[in-house]
Symmetry: C2
Subunit: 315 residues, 2 copies
């Protein structure tokens, strides 16, 4: 599944004595076997990161400082630090059935977007769209994006604007909803794991977000959250929001958890951390947690019609 040979070579080439491994949740169980293989092949001491890892933005800096090289699995490169080696992870699941189901729902010009696990399938998806007499459109995202058509949970810059519909290849709701809100173009989500396809509906999430925003409108004291993760740290944005909020304090957090937010006596939070946290964990928070976009809306700096997911954009 991963090319251990390539990893071993990188270790030998760097003469690394201490090696770090970082996996997203779904791949962590493979950690101990990989660690043992590397140790017996190279003689290096391997340390696995046991902290949660939700993206390429989420580098274990503490571990990085302890080792000579850190292998970060499952995400594409998002850092210039050459002590980190990114090992991508591709799902080998066939996308054909899901695309077939999606085809009748698509317009003439079809933008293609996906997450890194399905990137190797993109050429095949283009071919299927062309064979159906439609035009596939792939857009290169900004500097934080490695591949044309690739989405991050915090970056939809690879979604094309000049198309009739967008085809999202992958599972989950967050990415396709984000694309639809960002582009206002209909998105068809094709899930290769189930073979199903569906038109993405953003109405429910918008209602939920409007409800959270309404609750936050009475807030007097604000907490502005700054993430401590390398790819999420947005201090200048946090300071701008603090100045607008008035009675507000800056709070730095490594892992945003409901009980950590209860420690402070504030009425509402704005999270400048990973844009998914405010949305995905909304039901677990006892106080409203807004994204910067939503904060701007309730402060009248942006229109209510312009609700979108927060993004961390590159150049």
């Amino acid at each position: 599944m991963f090319d251990i040979q390539q990893i071993n070579e990188a270790i030998k080439e760097r003469k690394a004595r201490y090696v770090g491994l970082q996996f997203p949740e779904g791949l962590k169980r493979k950690g101990p076997e990989i660690a043992k293989t590397i140790e017996s092949d190279t003689g290096a001491t391997v340390i696995i990161s046991g902290d949660p890892c939700y993206g390429a933005c989420d580098i274990d800096e503490g571990l990085l400082d302890m080792v000579d090289v850190l292998f970060h699995f499952g995400h594409s490169r998002l850092s210039d630090d050459d002590r980190i080696v990114f090992i991508e992870y591709y799902h080998e699941v066939d996308v054909s059935k899901a695309i077939e189901t999606a085809l009748p729902m698509l317009g003439q010009r079809v933008g293609i977007v996906t997450t890194v696990q399905h990137i190797p399938m993109i050429e095949h998806v283009e071919r299927l769209i062309r064979e159906a007499g439609k035009t596939p459109v792939l857009h290169k995202g900004d500097s934080r994006i490695t591949y044309p058509g690739q989405l991050l949970g915090c970056n939809f810059s690879a979604a094309p604007a000049d198309v009739d519909s967008i085809l999202y290849v992958g599972s989950g709701n967050f990415h396709p909803m984000g694309v639809q809100l960002a582009t206002k173009i209909p998105v068809i989500a094709a899930d290769p794991f189930t073979g199903e396809a569906r038109k993405v509906d953003v109405e429910r999430i918008m209602r939920q977000r409007y409800a959270v925003m309404a609750k936050a409108m009475d807030a007097k004291r604000w907490g502005i959250i700054i993430a401590m993760k390398s790819g999420q740290k947005r201090l200048e944005l946090a300071k701008r929001i603090k100045a607008t909020a008035g009675d507000a304090v800056l709070i730095s957090i490594h892992e945003i958890a409901p009980d950590r937010l209860l420690s402070f006596k504030v009425d509402a939070y704005v999270s400048t951390a990973c844009p998914r946290v405010a949305i995905d964990d909304a039901g677990r928070f006892n106080v409203p947690v807004l994204t910067p976009v939503e904060f701007d809306i309730i402060k009248g700096l942006r229109s209510w019609d312009d609700l979108a997911f927060d993004e961390i954009r590159g150049e």
Copy 2:
């Protein structure tokens, strides 16, 4: 409660533009008010650490790297880093009633131990013991200990050996149990908040720990936890345990939580992190989590009679 004037002066003296504040859980609610006062007095931008903080070992390194000075509240100095200012916190509760209750339970030579919150009361405690015709004994701990008689949850080096009984002033069970296990001298715990005193009983905790150790004796695959917190990082100890364990992997963790331990397919853990975690959270873990002391016992490197809490000792 805290000397804000002194904090403001330290900020001005250092010409600090960014200021970090770190509080233990019980003091976090005071954070926003203190932050606002400092900001309006000095013009600096203040960031409060929102992550849990359990001791002076638990410095928010990420925040420290973002600011010019970090004020760490509630714990005594345990770091040479001069970017950190430790602001101790003292309880003003009177200890007299609890000591009076304790006196009849004490021998002739009485060792005195306490936590940093009650350190200013120690002279008064000595006087009360002397007035009762007994001899108070204060012992200077090792290099990690700031005051004679001061305990940390991971360091009982200030507990005297040459006494008939030890008087623990403070609340909670962990510290006095640790002292009793470390010294094998009877410990009387005097709680200034309730005015009560009691003989410390270690039998229940020993039974619990023996049960966890018994469960771990069948473990084939081990995870050896290394803490990422500055004052808890014990890599060499972890490597020594890994070598003894055989089939074992090193796992680095910032905050040890039950779900993080479930991510890996191992049968048992040894935690070289904060010694309290394995003990205090035992009921929440689905796999046995041993301290290094307990691991040595089940591997035959230490006697079963010699069960003690793990300590992080200085020089």
